[in-house]
């Protein structure tokens, strides 16, 4: 076991250093198709040219997600006018997906809400649990990401969007 532990610790600590910085061509997000709350399919690559995209993976049962979405509403109010798109992708599974629409309505979420019911897109983009937030530039490169939510994460999102909109 010690052998594995040391191998994995080496991978954990040194691979991120070897990988390119976020925003490099290597970090282009793969395309995906997901249904929205009205059953219409949303295709990522067909919507990229409109400008940067903020993607937030959340779930109705996830407390930090709801805290983060409150802050995202404020960011939305400021940046949606500046050609930034906001996708709030629910990873509620079939057990709880029925309450996503009512939850979004009662919490007055203004975002375009998509359903990733089996968490396949979240996994594809490198997330494992919600909340998971990423920002894509117009070319679809992942320029920023964070897992979980701590107070102040919304400031980093704003800083990244300001850099992209310069």
């Amino acid at each position: 076991m010690k052998y594995f532990l040391s191998m994995m610790l080496i991978l954990c600590f040194f691979l991120p250093a070897l990988a390119g910085d976020e925003g490099s061509d290597r970090e282009k997000a793969p395309d995906f198709t997901l249904p929205d709350l009205d059953g219409k399919n949303y295709v990522l690559y067909q919507n990229l040219e409109k400008g940067p995209v903020v993607i937030n993976f959340w779930a109705t049962w996830c407390v930090p997600c709801i805290e983060e979405l409150k802050k995202m509403k404020k960011i939305y109010d400021t940046y949606s006018e500046k050609e930034v798109s906001f996708l709030a992708i629910s990873v509620d599974d079939p057990k709880t997906v029925g309450r996503v629409k009512s939850f979004a309505k009662s919490h007055r979420y203004p975002f375009h809400i998509l359903l990733d019911t089996n968490s396949e897109v979240m996994r594809m983009l490198g997330g494992s649990v919600p909340p998971f937030t990423i920002i894509l530039d117009k070319e679809g490169r992942i320029v920023y990401s964070h897992v979980g939510y701590r107070v102040g994460d919304e400031k980093k999102v704003e800083e990244e969007l300001d850099k992209l909109l310069k």
Partner: protein
């Protein structure tokens, strides 16, 4: 797999790729999740790791997952060992996606088929085979074939199936699902469903009717699930009903994962006593009313009830919750409810208060109180839990997690632990837990595991690159 070959592949993947610049459209990403527990009480160590690597080139995408369970946690399936657990190749063009190798899938609302992973409860029923997806504005279709993984990590018999959904008008989706497998010594089994989804500006309705046709010596099964969601201003009403009769499709592994139709809780004590789904024999409803009062308050009221087909009440719950943000710096949640199953009745009071200090600091307190009454002998006791957390510079969270009980049958009466969560640059997240934790059921999506008591240190590392 040969160890040298394995590390050779990893070496090539990560150390050589940056040199292959001629492939200008080559993209790669990966992540690694490691859990290492030192259980002082039982003098044992558990080590588990999941490393995933993805490569993209034009319309192709490939992935590889390495897993090590040396040994796995006691609540995990017996998957001791290491090696390449998953690999896939995917081709995506226009409306088509074809996948060869390991994949997860979901048909409809999971009444018929859902293969998924939930690492927290160590659930992984990926399928090894192939699938083709077609996602068009007027039609969604999926065809699959492959061998699903069971709870002990073995591959089951070949499974074939399909999912078709037409979207003839914007208001209506209609479709069906079908799955079959040939069970050794039992014969061929078929199951499937028809479904419809209606979407209006003022509401949504979903219906799915499923059947299961086992060989004659086994009971045939049927199930239906209905959901209605109605919106009026800031008020919404969700009504769900399900009737599952012999619809737990389990032969070495559970193929389906139907909607639970009861409330899922994240509070520790509420989660511990929520219902464990049994699709062999259960029916019931859930009604949830949600109302956004002004800009800063949301009220939620929930009632759900589960019976068997003889009318015996297996579980019922009443729950109310108020979320209130008096200012940008304060966030409050208060909830109260009653859960009752065949053995006990639990009265619950929960609350969360969060105080945001400036732009980057916050203090959070989560308080839970549960009054338990054992119905068989009228024995009563309290369980209480308190979590205090301090967010510093949006990089570090320090938490104190504690629980106590007055249950005289419990060998211990309090549990206390500390936890540090650190977010470092380059997408590196570290969690260190130290202390003791009470044994108990943890549930996700109606699937529950019994986590044993723990005393020691737990380290979790997650990094993405």
């Amino acid at each position: 797999m040969n160890r040298r070959l394995l590390y050779g592949i990893i070496f090539i993947l990560f150390f050589q790729l940056p040199v292959v610049d001629s492939f200008s459209q080559l993209t790669y990403q990966g992540n690694n999740y490691l859990e290492w527990s030192i259980d002082r009480e039982n003098d044992k160590q558990y080590f588990e790791d999941w490393a995933e690597f993805f490569l993209g080139y034009k319309d192709f995408r490939a992935g590889l997952r390495f897993e090590a369970h040396e040994p796995p946690q006691p609540y995990s399936p017996d998957t001791t060992g290491y090696g390449i657990a998953q690999r896939f190749l995917e081709y995506r063009k226009s409306y088509f996606t074809a996948t060869l190798g390991n994949y997860y899938t979901l048909f409809g609302r999971g009444l018929v088929l859902r293969s998924f992973e939930n690492r927290m409860i160590r659930w992984d029923t990926n399928i090894d085979g192939g699938k083709v997806d077609f996602n068009h504005p007027l039609l969604d279709a999926e065809v699959i074939a492959g061998r699903p993984r069971d709870r002990s990590g073995r591959r089951q018999e070949w499974l074939e199936g399909g999912y078709l959904k037409f979207k003839p008008i914007s208001l209506l989706d209609i479709g069906g699902t079908f799955v079959t497998t040939d069970l050794k010594d039992k014969g061929r089994v078929y199951w499937g469903s028809v479904l419809a989804d209606l979407n209006f500006d003022w509401g949504e309705f979903y219906f799915e009717r499923a059947f299961k046709d086992f060989p004659s010596q086994y009971p045939k099964g049927k199930a239906y699930y209905l959901m209605g969601n109605i919106y009026y201003g800031n008020a919404t009403l969700l009504v769900e009903y399900r009737d599952y009769d012999q619809f737990d499709i389990t032969e070495g592994l559970t193929y389906n994962n139907p909607p639970t139709v009861f409330r899922e809780h994240l509070y520790t004590l509420l989660n511990r006593h929520q219902r464990v789904q049994d699709a062999r024999d259960e029916k019931g409803y859930q009604v949830e009313f949600t109302y956004g009062i002004g800009d800063n308050t949301v009220l939620t009221l929930n009632n759900n009830r589960t019976t068997n087909h003889k009318g015996l009440v297996l579980y019922r719950e009443y729950y109310g919750q108020l979320e209130f943000d008096p200012s940008d710096y304060w966030s409050l949640v208060g909830g109260a409810g009653q859960q009752e199953n065949l053995e006990a009745r639990y009265l619950n009071f929960v609350g969360t208060a969060k105080w945001i200090i400036g732009d980057y600091h916050a203090i959070k307190a989560i308080v839970e109180h549960q009054h338990a009454k054992i119905l068989l002998n009228d024995r009563q006791y309290y369980d209480q839990a308190l979590t205090l957390a301090y967010d510093i510079f949006s990089r570090v969270t320090l938490s104190l997690i504690s629980e106590r009980t007055t249950d005289q049958l419990s060998q211990e009466d309090y549990w206390i632990a500390g936890q540090v969560d650190v977010h470092l640059p380059k997408n590196f997240d570290l969690t260190v837990f130290g202390g003791n934790r009470r044994k108990g059921k943890i549930c996700a999506g109606g699937v529950c595991i019994n986590r044993p008591a723990f005393e020691g240190i737990e380290i979790r590392l997650l990094n993405r690159f």
